[in-house]
């Protein structure tokens, strides 16, 4: 084996290599924020895309990297959205006196709301992850599906969460900066997981659970951990969503939403973070593009455009069938764009030395 030591990017001190990508992203995100300040529709679309990317990349940690089959991701998103949304509603007028401005105070509260939503979703991830220790394949899928529906039904019947009407008037504290920052964090986390000993364990579990166990992989711990991490980011995605749409209701988190995310990661290639990103972007923009095309065609008539929403799932379905026939491993298979990128970017490829 060409046992090359992990190539070092000379010039960057070791302690900076972890936070460096995050620091680099900040000015770029700030620039994006500034550039889109006058384009609310663009911000909206970009935010939807961002939330879907977070959802897809995080679901891919469980379904792609670990080989479990979860189809209740919208449930975790709902938990995050409702917890974060409710928190912000209740603390709308709270001002943190140590912050310089109201805006800064709001942003800090917003971050806290997101973390809270993510944390509660992670707890649910833990609870849903437990059955994965005993159940495989279809059975686990049914449990996760049931979980998603149970969350929705609970919310729908809880006074505190506004029942079927949901929550409205959630302060719109989201920004393109915040959404993209979390997109970035999610991708970074997924990449770190894939290229670590953790990722190697997940890979082994995905390929053959019995063999992985025989080799000394603590399959139990890793499977549950994958669920927890995945649910955390889905919860954050829900929180972000709640804070840019301002209104959430149980209808936003149905089984259809879960399937949308599953379709994204399957189309992108289960196990490939790159694939999840590309497919999430494409499949989010596609209906938006169709909608504006139909609006144009219909001469401003909205009914035609509205129909796009109704035929979205059949289109997804057909796309997926076509893809599975032509390229069953998905667009990217299990490959990553950074596998072919410069060496210093890739650290340890696929977790293999």
């Amino acid at each position: 084996m060409e046992s090359v030591a992990a190539p070092r990017f000379s010039g960057v001190p070791g302690w900076l290599r972890g936070p460096l990508p995050i620091l680099l992203s900040l000015p770029i995100l700030a620039l994006a924020q500034w550039a889109t300040a006058q384009a609310p529709f663009l911000v909206y679309i970009a935010s939807i895309v961002g939330v879907n990317v977070i959802l897809a990349v995080s679901l891919n940690i469980v379904n792609g990297m670990t080989g479990q089959f979860s189809i209740g991701h919208a449930g975790f998103m709902a938990v995050g959205a409702y917890i974060a949304g409710k928190f912000s509603l209740e603390t709308k007028d709270v001002y943190l006196p140590f912050m310089q401005s109201v805006a800064a105070s709001d942003q800090l509260m917003f971050v806290f709301a997101l973390l809270l939503g993510g944390a509660v979703a992670a707890v649910f991830g833990f609870l849903v992850g437990l059955p994965s220790l005993r159940l495989k394949g279809d059975y686990l899928a049914i449990v996760t599906l049931g979980f998603g529906e149970i969350i929705r039904v609970i919310v729908q019947n809880t006074e505190m969460f506004g029942r079927a009407l949901g929550l409205s008037g959630i302060p719109q504290r989201s920004s393109i900066f915040m959404v993209m920052f979390w997109v970035f964090l999610t991708i970074l986390a997924a990449r770190r997981i894939a290229s670590s000993a953790h990722g190697r364990s997940l890979l082994a579990i995905r390929e053959d659970e019995i063999a992985a166990e025989a080799m000394g992989v603590n399959t139990t711990a890793y499977k549950v951990r994958a669920f927890v991490i995945s649910a955390f980011f889905a919860g954050v995605a829900g929180g972000l969503f709640a804070h840019f749409v301002g209104i959430i209701n149980p209808g936003s988190f149905t089984f259809v939403k879960s399937m949308e995310i599953v379709v994204m990661i399957v189309a992108g290639g289960l196990g490939s973070t790159t694939g999840s990103i590309v497919a999430a972007v494409f499949l989010t923009l596609l209906p938006e593009a169709l909608r504006s095309i139909f609006t144009q065609l219909g001469g401003g008539d909205q009914t035609l455009a509205q129909r796009v929403d109704q035929i979205r799932m059949p289109i997804y379905g057909m796309l997926l069938v076509a893809l599975m026939l032509l390229r069953p491993q998905g667009l990217f298979g299990t490959k990553e764009i950074w596998d072919v990128a410069p060496k210093w970017l890739s650290r340890r490829r696929k977790g293999m030395r």
Partner: protein
């Protein structure tokens, strides 16, 4: 060698000959395994000495695989004790036993078919951080099985049965175990390939590794083994030095088809 086949009956076990004394590496005491209502092991005793090859032979369904799975922590025993280096490790999971020097090459090889040979080997060393030593062990595996080296970039699923078994053994060795558990390495292999594999096991053992070898191929296993046990429907019925078992009329009749 005490060639005199003094057969003793101790607790239903027919013990042949005498066993060269060794420090015990693995001791199994009264091990019981059940699958629901099915009792697969009804309390077996078995010892593997340090640097000893011990064969566990028996017909299909006798409980050989269950024994190995219980020892390596892949299933929870219903009763009995397992001692490793004199310490009680009963009930520990596989991921706790691998760092204590145990490696299990499961029945049916259990390699990662969709990964390359190299990736499989890499995963075998998954708990280790000593990069330089891992590289050495890799070279050692390639020395043991040159065919594996030739196919290092190939998907494991494209290997022949024999090569897959070689890979399974190599991958187990990559964790640098002190005790190797092998489940039917000869299963479905051509005689020459089996011979290669058994020659390698001998070489590995001569470097000090203890081996618990489960086999249906009694002839090969007992030739290699210092000591052997015969398992019948969840119970040890006979034990003795490999050669002596091989020559005993019971074994010849039941397992060598004579």
């Amino acid at each position: 060698m005490s060639g005199a086949a003094v057969a003793q009956e101790t607790g239903g076990v027919k013990v042949l000959g005498t066993r060269a004394p060794r420090e015990p590496h693995l001791e199994i005491q009264g091990l019981r395994v059940s699958y629901g209502a099915i009792q697969a092991l009804r309390g077996i005793d078995l010892t593997v000495g340090r640097a000893e090859v011990v064969a566990l032979i028996g017909a299909n369904g006798a409980g050989k695989t269950s024994t190995l799975r219980a020892v390596s922590g892949m299933l929870k025993p219903a009763g009995g004790k397992i001692l490793l280096d004199g310490r009680d490790v009963t009930g520990l999971k596989a991921h706790q036993l691998v760092p204590r020097g145990m490696a299990h090459a499961p029945e049916g090889r259990g390699i990662f078919l969709n990964l390359t040979v190299e990736e499989n080997l890499d995963l075998g060393a998954y708990r280790r951080r000593d990069t330089a030593e891992i590289a050495k062990d890799l070279e050692y595996c390639f020395h043991l099985f040159p065919r594996i080296k030739e196919r290092r970039k190939q998907m494991a699923g494209t290997l022949s049965g024999g090569e897959q078994q070689m890979l399974a053994i190599s991958r187990a060795l990559m964790s640098r175990p002190k005790l190797l558990l092998l489940d039917e390495p000869s299963l479905g292999l051509a005689p020459q390939v089996t011979e290669t594999i058994f020659r390698t096991l001998k070489e590995v053992n001569e470097r000090g590794m203890s081996i618990l070898l489960v086999e249906q191929n009694a002839h090969l296993a007992l030739q290699l083994a210092h000591y052997g046990y015969v398992l019948e429907t969840g119970e040890v019925v006979m034990a003795g030095p490999g050669r002596e078992l091989l020559e005993s009329p019971e074994v010849r009749k039941a397992y060598l088809g004579e």
